[in-house]
Each structure stands twice: as structure tokens, then as C-alpha cells.
């Protein structure tokens, strides 16, 4: 029963009893940033996000820190298991006494701590999940999203469809859970009163082996727009099947499944030709960015500070841009690193350009808008890579 943790706890308790203020927030010269990430378990691929942020912070510290202070990055493994997240977050807040939380990963895991961190008034910033509920400053003023959320993306497609397709008839294939329904909600919001153009909706369950029959049924509805809201495996099936049965609809693919290697290649590059999707981060492998200054900077960072990291993975790109957002927010805190000020600064980012975002996309937040990135650019698959077209589409909620 006697173990390191209880001893540590005993030590901490003794210190507290000795009259040393335990919650010496921002009184010392270290800013403690807490995080939970899936370093183990089925979602452990995401762990690279946490490692990239850690490496970035190491670099910032080596360059002198933020406003004369060092940042301490404390990232614990929760294995993508909500009860473990609760434990680790409580450890971060109550034992490590972090000043803020950054980029905690996952929708169920963040849901588990959502109420707790807001009751404790701990900044819960730039969470690494695309659900829409993080942008709810009225009820959860301490929480903020980061990436474009699923409804935003759905709304962007809807706007484009209404503007560019004559007499649209939309068929939607979606995963029957929060993620799928979030997209559907966004699509309907973007259609703004013209929901009747959705002629067919087909949900599928993750446990299903294929979505072939759903695709065939959707074609039978006579739709001329096919919106695929599916995770990689099912997206590949839907793309392949819709091409096989010769369904000549304008096909939209959600951003979740735009990976060429793991979705479009299995589906067949020829079958994938013409797909439309939307992105917000640069695909660093794309030749068009090869000479871009930010990509070159990112590669220098990766080589020097995170050589073990995967330079073809979108997770290291994500982590880099996310870490930049964090550091920039902290810089703006000046000398006041109180939790109130950190949240205030996080909620007053205006036109902040995080590196590796697509050109023209900036981060904007306000006291009533905790959704930092709400713009995406549409892109079409030309059989080899994604070609961006049109303007950056903004779907700012406020």
C-alpha cells in the first residue's frame, strides 16, 4: 500500500501544512501546462500530437521561454479511456497544479472532464477533437476548441452546393454517432431553410462490414450530390462503390478521411477522381508546399527537436500548429499568468496566423466564440493529389 505516489502525496500535504501556499499559481517563473493524450491503446497514433507539442515547448524554452518564463509540459497517458482521463486530469489540476490544460485529446475523454475543469476554473484550451460542444462559452467559459468542428465543415459544403449546383438533390451517408450527426447538423444549418434538397439519408453502424447496400439505395434516390460522412474504411468502400455503379453525382468527402494513402488508394485513385473535400492544414507531402517557408521551418524543427517524429504524418503538423497557438496565447498574457487572464487572452485572438494552416486561414476567437479555426478551403482530388480551389470559406459562427 505504501508507494511512491502516497509518499509524494504525504510530502505535498506536509508542505501544505507547513504553511507554504500550495496554489502558488503563476507566482513562480514556470508556466505549467497539463495535457492528457493517448500514448497507449487503440488510439495511440495520436500520441505524436503530444510528443510534437512537447518538443516544440522544449525548443521555446531553449530560446528563452515566454516573457522570461519557462513552460513546463506535463503530458500523461490516458489510453483514450475516460475514467483514466478523469484521474490524470485530477492529478494535473490538484497535484501538479497546472496553470492550464492544452490540447487534451478525444471527444469522450474531454466530455468526461468538461464539467470538472469548468467547476475548477482551469483553462481547458484548444482541445484536440472536432466535436462542436467545446464552443459553448456561456455554459463552459473555460473550454475552447481549436480545429474546425464537424458542423462548420458540413455548413461549408452546404454553402458551396447551393451556390454552384443547379437544382441540387443531396444524398448523405453518415456514421451513426455524434460525429456523423454533427456533420448532418452542420449541413442542414448551411442549407439554411432549404433542407428539402436532402433527398436521402443513410446511417451506417461502425459494426457493419460494408456500406455497399447503403450506397446503392442512395443512388436510387436520384440524388446528384453524394455526401460521404465516414471514417477511412467506410469512406473507401463508399468511394469505390459509387464509382462502380456509375453514379454520376458530385461527391463530397469529409475531412476525416482525406488521406490519399489510407483511403483514396484503397478505393482506387481513378475511382476517387473528382472528389471534393475541405482542408485547413497544409498537406506537407504535397509538392505545392515543398518550398513554402513554414513547411521548411517545420522540417527544421522536426529534424532538430523531434527527429523520431513522422514527417509524413498529419499529426506532427497538427501538433506543431497547435503548440504555436498555445505559445502565442501565453505570449499575449504579458506578465499576468493568472487563469482568468490566460482564458481572456485565448478568447481574444484576432487574425492569428498559425504556421501550416492553409494560406488565408487565421485563428479568431472572442468572448462569445471559442472556436478558433472556422475556415476551410475546398479542394478537389485530381487523381494524384488534392487541388485547392476557390476562396477560403469562412463559416464563422459569431
Amino acid at each position: 500500500m505504501l508507494n511512491r505516489r502516497t509518499l509524494l502525496g504525504a510530502g505535498a500535504a506536509a508542505l501544505a501544512a507547513a504553511g507554504i501556499p500550495a496554489a502558488a499559481l503563476a507566482a513562480d517563473d514556470v508556466i505549467k501546462v497539463g495535457n492528457t493524450m493517448a500514448y497507449s491503446g487503440p488510439a495511440s497514433a495520436y500520441g505524436q500530437i503530444g510528443s510534437t507539442i512537447g518538443a516544440y515547448i522544449e525548443m521555446v524554452n531553449a530560446q528563452g521561454g515566454v516573457n522570461g518564463r519557462k513552460i513546463e509540459w506535463i503530458s500523461y497517458d490516458d489510453g483514450y479511456s475516460p475514467p483514466k482521463t478523469v484521474e490524470q486530469i485530477r492529478r494535473l489540476v490538484e497535484q501538479d497544479e497546472v496553470d492550464l490544460l492544452h490540447a487534451t485529446l478525444g471527444t469522450p475523454t474531454n466530455t468526461a472532464i468538461h464539467k470538472y475543469v469548468n467547476a475548477k476554473k482551469v483553462p481547458h484550451l484548444f482541445v484536440a477533437t472536432g466535436a462542436s460542444k467545446w464552443n459553448d462559452p456561456e455554459n463552459f467559459p473555460w473550454t475552447s476548441g481549436w480545429q474546425p468542428n464537424y458542423p462548420t465543415e458540413g455548413a461549408i459544403y452546404a454553402q458551396w452546393i447551393l451556390a454552384n449546383i443547379e437544382n441540387p438533390k443531396i444524398a448523405v451517408l453518415y456514421q451513426n454517432d455524434d460525429y456523423g450527426k454533427d456533420y448532418l447538423t452542420g449541413l442542414k444549418r448551411g442549407l439554411a431553410g432549404r433542407e428539402d434538397v436532402i433527398v436521402a439519408e443513410a446511417p451506417y453502424e461502425v459494426a457493419q462490414p460494408t456500406v455497399d447496400s447503403e450506397v446503392i439505395n442512395l443512388k436510387a434516390s436520384g440524388a446528384n450530390v453524394f455526401f460521404i460522412v465516414a471514417t477511412p474504411k467506410f469512406a473507401a468502400q463508399a468511394i469505390k462503390k459509387s464509382a462502380e455503379i456509375g453514379w454520376e453525382a458530385e461527391r463530397f468527402l469529409n475531412n476525416v478521411s482525406i488521406s490519399v494513402g489510407s483511403v483514396l488508394q484503397p478505393a482506387g485513385l481513378e475511382a476517387s477522381k473528382g472528389l471534393i473535400s475541405a482542408g485547413y492544414l497544409m498537406e506537407v507531402d504535397d509538392p505545392q508546399w515543398a518550398d513554402h517557408e513554414e513547411v521548411a521551418e517545420w522540417r527544421r524543427f522536426m529534424n532538430e527537436w523531434y527527429p523520431a517524429g513522422d514527417q509524413t504524418s498529419s499529426f506532427t503538423v497538427y501538433g506543431y500548429a497547435s503548440a504555436y497557438t498555445l505559445v502565442e496565447t501565453l505570449k499575449r498574457c504579458g506578465d499576468d499568468f493568472s487563469r482568468e487572464n490566460i482564458v481572456r487572452q485565448a478568447a481574444s485572438l484576432k487574425g492569428l496566423r498559425a504556421p501550416l494552416l492553409l494560406p488565408g486561414i487565421t485563428i479568431n476567437t472572442s468572448a462569445t466564440d471559442h472556436a478558433p479555426i472556422e475556415a476551410m478551403q475546398l479542394m478537389r482530388f485530381n487523381g494524384e493529389s488534392w487541388e485547392r480551389f476557390g476562396e477560403v470559406v469562412h463559416a464563422e459562427s459569431s
Binding site: 505516489r5 502516497t6 505535498a12 500535504a13 475516460p82 497535484q95 471527444t107 468526461a112 451513426n176
Partner: protein, 347 residues
């Protein structure tokens, strides 16, 4: 009275020399009983003082430790006492947790009432699962219960139940405050700690008495030699299914408490990993030795954190290393190790 009970318990399992399970709890000589009582009193006093010494986080961890200990206690009744395997106790834990969440958040019923309901529900589910499982022995039963553990998160996500279960999103529970004006003295974490402690003590008392009762002896007889037990007139089917039910009831109550403490349930909280954790806790604590549940729970709560502190990238490897080390050094779990020590000292 208590003494004679213990001797009889000892006799029951001691008679089967070939039993794979150590006849641990049977090593109850008169002297050890007083020693055991002294240890129990010291532990209890420590447990009562703990929430006033440590920070809320430690109190929370200790509460979770007791919750897992109750779950392990449940599995111990099945595996240690009755000799049936289960890789699916995470499923019963989930049923208990969802019972609490649905009753509290959807129906607005007080958390105290969720415990008996979860217990009864899990008993029924466990008993019913135990009936067909009667035909399965050893690894085949392990496989059937494995299926149960794997299927449970999927069922919780199913659309028809979504209105109740909240689908993948799960259910957020409001943490209860201490009642009867105690909230002036105890914060919510401290109250839940004492509440869990009280439930845990009650369940431990129940389990101990069960093991020492006629039923307990029958259960152990089935474990040690089913044919002999049957020829002695023990209705093995009924007893085995009952053992499954009682075991599920304990684990379900643990799940119920766990949900209230964590304040959140979701299908991802009850994956197969949970069932494995309960099994690991059982083996570490000592199969068949009831107090071992506490030590096993301490292992599954703390060792992953220790492993992570040593190396983030190799946390899993270090966890495995600790596990192997414990099994190697104490092949019969903590219980076996303690008994060996006591035997050595007593010599």
C-alpha cells in the same frame, strides 16, 4: 464461534490437496486471527483518517482503489472460491455504472438507491449468464465471458438504447454532496470516500460470511472436486449460477460506485481492458484470499502511473515488467506472499 467457522473453512479446502488454488485463507490458526484483527483495526483507523490528511486527488484515487477492490472481490468469489473463470467482469461493471447513470440523470433518483438496483440487476444478469455458462469449463468459459466483455461497449452504443445510454457520448453525472448537513464538514470527495468505504466494508463482511457459510463451503467443494461435491448432494448447477450472480452483483455495485465517483459513463470506459484489469488485480492480490482485493486494486490503480513516470514511451513494457516480477516473486499473489512471511515468522 468465529473460530470454529474458520477451522471448518480450513477443513473444506484443506481436504483437497490437489486443488490448484492455494488453501490460503485456511491458514487461520488462532494466533493469526488476532493478528489479522489487529491489522484490520489499524487499516480501518488509517482509512478513516486518510481523507483529513491528504489532498482531494489522493482521496479520489483511494476511492477508486476501493471501487476496484470491490470489483476484484466479486471476481474473487467466482474464481477464487468457486473456481470459475471470467474475462468479462468489465461487462457487469458497465451494467452497474450505466444503472447508476441512467437512474440518476434520466430518472432523477438519488444515488444511494442506485446501489441496490444495480446489485439486483447485475445479480439477475450474472445468474442468467451463469446458467448457459454451466456447460462450459475452464478456458471455454473464459472465452464465453470474453465475448461478453467485447460485446458490451457495442450494445451501449446501439441506436435503440441511445435515448437511455446517450450513445457514444455517454452520460455525465452530477457529483453528490454530503447529506444531513455533513457538507459543512466534508467536501464531495471526502463524502464519496466514506460512502464507498462503508459500502466496501459491508460487502466485505457479506463476502466473508458467505465464504464461511454452508453455501461457501459448497462453492469451494465444487471448485476443489465437482464430482465429489455432486455426490455429496450439492446442486452444482444452482450453486455455480448463484456464484456467477453474486460475483456479478459485487462487480456491478463497484461499477455503480465508480460511475458516481468518475461522474461520467461512456462505452469507451468499459472496454475489454477493464475486464483484464480486474483479472490482473485478482491474480496480484491472491486468488481465493479476500483481503487481497485491496492489494490487487492498489496495483491496477498505481502501477500504470509508476510505469509511466519511469518512461512514457515504454510505460506498457514497464507495466508488463512489474507484472511479471510480481508473478515471479509471489506466484500466489500478495496473499500467498503474506502467508509465506507469516509462516516464516511464526516458525
Amino acid at each position: 464461534m468465529a473460530m470454529s467457522d474458520e477451522t471448518m473453512t480450513g477443513g473444506a479446502s484443506g481436504s483437497a490437496k490437489a486443488a490448484p488454488v492455494p488453501k490460503g485463507r485456511a491458514a487461520a490458526a488462532g494466533g493469526k486471527s488476532t493478528l489479522g484483527q489487529a491489522v484490520f483495526v489499524i487499516l480501518l483507523l488509517g482509512a478513516l483518517a486518510l481523507p483529513f490528511i491528504f489532498k482531494n486527488f489522493t482521496i479520489f484515487q483511494m476511492t477508486m482503489l476501493m471501487v476496484y477492490a470491490i470489483a476484484i472481490l466479486g471476481l474473487n468469489l467466482l474464481t477464487g472460491i468457486n473456481g470459475q473463470f471470467s474475462l468479462g467482469h468489465g461487462a457487469f461493471y458497465a451494467v452497474g455504472a450505466y444503472t447508476a447513470a441512467i437512474m440518476m440523470e434520466n430518472l432523477g433518483i438519488g444515488y444511494v438507491w442506485t446501489l441496490p438496483v444495480a446489485g439486483i440487476l447485475c445479480f439477475v444478469v450474472g445468474f442468467l449468464f451463469g446458467l448457459p455458462a454451466l456447460r462450459l469449463e475452464g478456458i471455454y468459459l473464459a472465452l464465453a465471458t470474453f465475448a461478453l466483455a467485447v460485446a458490451t461497449p457495442q450494445f451501449l452504443k446501439l441506436t435503440p438504447f441511445e435515448h437511455w445510454t446517450g450513445g457514444v457520448q455517454g452520460i455525465v453525472i452530477i457529483k453528490p454532496d454530503a447529506p444531513f448537513g455533513l457538507d459543512a464538514v466534508l467536501n464531495a470527495d471526502q463524502w464519496l470516500y466514506f460512502f464507498t468505504l462503508a459500502v466496501g466494508l459491508f460487502l466485505y463482511w457479506l463476502a466473508r460470511n458467505l465464504v464461511r457459510s454452508r453455501t461457501g463451503r459448497a462453492l469451494m467443494a465444487i471448485r476443489d472436486n465437482p464430482i465429489a461435491a455432486r455426490s455429496m448432494g450439492v446442486n452444482t448447477s444452482v450453486y455455480k449460477a448463484t456464484a456467477f450472480g453474486i460475483s456479478a452483483m459485487f462487480t456491478g455495485i463497484a461499477g455503480c460506485l465508480g460511475a458516481i465517483v468518475i461522474q461520467f459513463v461512456a462505452p469507451d470506459s468499459f472496454t475489454f481492458a477493464l475486464s483484464v484489469a480486474i483479472l490482473v488485480g485478482l491474480v496480484i492480490g491472491g486468488v481465493g484470499w479476500l483481503p487481497g482485493a485491496l492489494l490487487g486494486a492498489a496495483f491496477i490503480v498505481f502501477i500504470p502511473n509508476v510505469a509511466e513516470e519511469i518512461s512514457k514511451g515504454l510505460a506498457g513494457a514497464f507495466y508488463g515488467f512489474f507484472l511479471i516480477a510480481v508473478i515471479y516473486l509471489a506466484p500466489q499473489g500478495a496473499g500467498g506472499l503474506l502467508r509465506a512471511l507469516v509462516a516464516k515468522l511464526g516458525r
